[in-house]
């Protein structure tokens, strides 16, 4: 039972500001993901909750307790490090049992809890091994087991899956999701992988250069990006972002014209549209938004990614898997006008219409 609150938190390293004006409330039992590119301050934010980094200013609360000046050992949080930080000189059992040993848990309970946790993460046959005798996935599970062997107020996970191969990552992602559901412990999860964020989170805080760009459920972040950065960062393949001009609700750029944006006018605008909201049409149709040559065709399996040449850039659309167009063939394009976003290139914010 715990919430975590950041109030006007700033973290500076010398003159460099790593985290800026950070305000966030993580609710009890919530799975909150901090998502952002490498170097945007995610780890720093998490380390401030763990007590490994001191906030330069502002307050951090766990429930009602201001914890800025509380030693890590009294914060009762558990952390999974990106590097796992397993104790190399201790066996798997001693690694998992470290938090219990420190708390002087009596021997019978110590044994019981280690056995239980080891079984849950499927390490019960390797308790005597040293970390260096484990595979990457097994090490990751030791790190996880060390965190869940006690019931902390908050779980902190710093890119716990980033060192695993793709298949294992997908599998562990599901494990984590189930585990959090079962344990009901407030979790802050750091990642730069948007798929992880979308699949795991109750809410996502998208970070960029030390500030939160947007906070919301995965669906809100995906369907309603408030800034140019969020729009470009979320989604794979990424949203098409095309610079141009909006005059009285009509966006124009090179050969592309898209209407339906009310009566707004933006001298320097960016049009955002996701690949799945762009459709191939007959080039002779009257109401196409664009006619352009195909630059490349990639079959992904479930569908086909088609890139078109538009001015000096490429526009991607997601077509049916049976799409039969050839490179250099000219095709028409229709854009779902109720699915477009307009951004002001000056402020990088969304313009509603």
């Amino acid at each position: 039972m715990a919430s975590v609150t950041f109030r006007d938190v700033v973290k500076k390293f010398g003159s460099f500001t790593a985290v800026h004006d950070f305000n966030l409330e993580i609710r009890d039992k919530e799975f909150l993901v901090l998502l952002g590119p490498s170097g945007c301050g995610k780890t720093t934010t998490m380390r401030m909750v763990a007590g490994l980094e001191e906030a330069t200013s502002g307050d951090i609360y766990i429930d009602a307790d201001r914890i800025n000046d509380v030693l890590p050992k009294y914060r009762d949080v558990a952390m999974v490090f990106q590097s796992y930080a397993l104790y190399p000189h201790l066996s798997v059992e001693d690694n998992i049992g470290y938090p219990l040993k420190i708390r002087k848990v009596p021997p019978e309970e110590y044994k019981r809890r280690i056995t239980e946790v080891a079984r849950r993460v499927e390490l019960d046959t390797m308790l005597k091994r040293l970390p260096k005798e484990l595979s990457g996935g097994q090490r990751q599970r030791v790190a996880l087991a060390r965190a869940i062997v006690r019931t902390p107020r908050v779980f902190l996970m710093d890119e716990p899956l980033s060192n695993l191969d793709a298949k294992l990552r997908t599998q562990m992602r599901a494990e984590l999701k189930h585990l959090q559901h079962e344990l009901q412990v407030t979790t802050i999860y750091v990642t730069h992988d948007q798929i992880e964020a979308m699949t795991l989170a109750h809410r996502v805080a998208v970070m960029n250069r030390g500030v939160i760009e947007q906070l919301g459920t995965p669906r809100e972040i995906y369907n309603d990006p408030r800034t140019l950065f969020v729009a470009g960062f979320i989604g794979s393949p990424a949203m098409n972002l095309i610079p141009g001009e909006v005059k009285d609700g009509v966006f124009a750029s090179a050969g592309l014209r898209v209407g339906g944006a009310g009566h707004v006018s933006i001298p320097r605008a960016v049009l955002g549209v996701r690949p799945e909201d762009v459709h191939v049409a007959n080039a002779e149709d009257q109401d196409v938004n664009l006619v352009a040559p195909i630059y490349s065709v990639e079959l992904t399996g479930e569908n086909t990614l088609v890139s078109l040449q538009l001015g000096g850039r490429l526009m991607t659309l997601r077509a049916d898997k049976n799409f039969a167009g050839q490179i250099d063939q000219r095709v028409g394009v229709k854009i779902e006008t109720d699915r477009i976003f307009l951004f002001d290139a000056e402020t990088e914010r969304r313009v509603d219409f």
Partner: protein, 285 residues
Amino acid sequence: MATRAWHRTREAIFRMLAYAVMAIALFITTFPVYWLATNSFKLDIDIFAVPPVWFEFSPTLKHYEAAFIGQPFLIYALNSLIIAVATTIVSLIFGTMAGYALARFHYPGRWRYQISFWILSTRMMPPIVTIIPLFIFFNFFNLLNTRLAVVVAYTAFNLPFVTWMMKSYFQDLPPELEEAAMVDGDTRWGAFVRVALPLARPGIVATAIFSLILAWNEFLLALILTQTDRSMTLPVGISGRVTQYTTHWGEISAAGFLASLPIIIFALIVQRHLVRGMSFGAVKG
């Protein structure tokens, strides 16, 4: 093909050169040991023989008897042992903690560098400069001719070196391991004892060896601080056999050989650590 043949010849020449250099280095380092060892078993007449007697002499234990029964060299050896071990233990206790603090804690501005440099700077003057102050100091506390005085003096000289070596070792450990320990509920001290120290064990062993050898071999300070049989160390005792009228080469060789034997054996056993420790210090500065 000619180039390849030339290449091979060149490589052979280089290898021969390398072996030659190694042979010379080996000769320079081992010859004194050989000379010391053989002299300790020779009769005086063979020690002074010209041309030197290399192998064909009738071995005798007379000098060993003279040194260890006629002279109190056993006591000197015991003194040396106690002093070397005590110095090493005390310097390691303080040096490990100081090194850890310098490696891990936050210091404003350039203070980490300043403090480290200041500690090391005490090693920059020749020890002889401090001899008279040290003599007066220990005299004041009535500690002349005690093993305690030597331990204190050696610790003072060893500590900067131990601190620096341990500092580089701790700096090489990822801080995340201790951070993990603290998040797991441990104190900083607990993380130091339970995580950092066990992981720094190779460094501690290497540092201990250096410290033992330094203390075992030290001569100058011991000479000034100890003049009695009860406090004298081996190097001082051995030098005492150079008397006004004669130099007892046989006894000196016997005691000298036995004094260097533990260090040689020790170094052979732990040479892996030794090499690591040395290259470590060399790179990390």
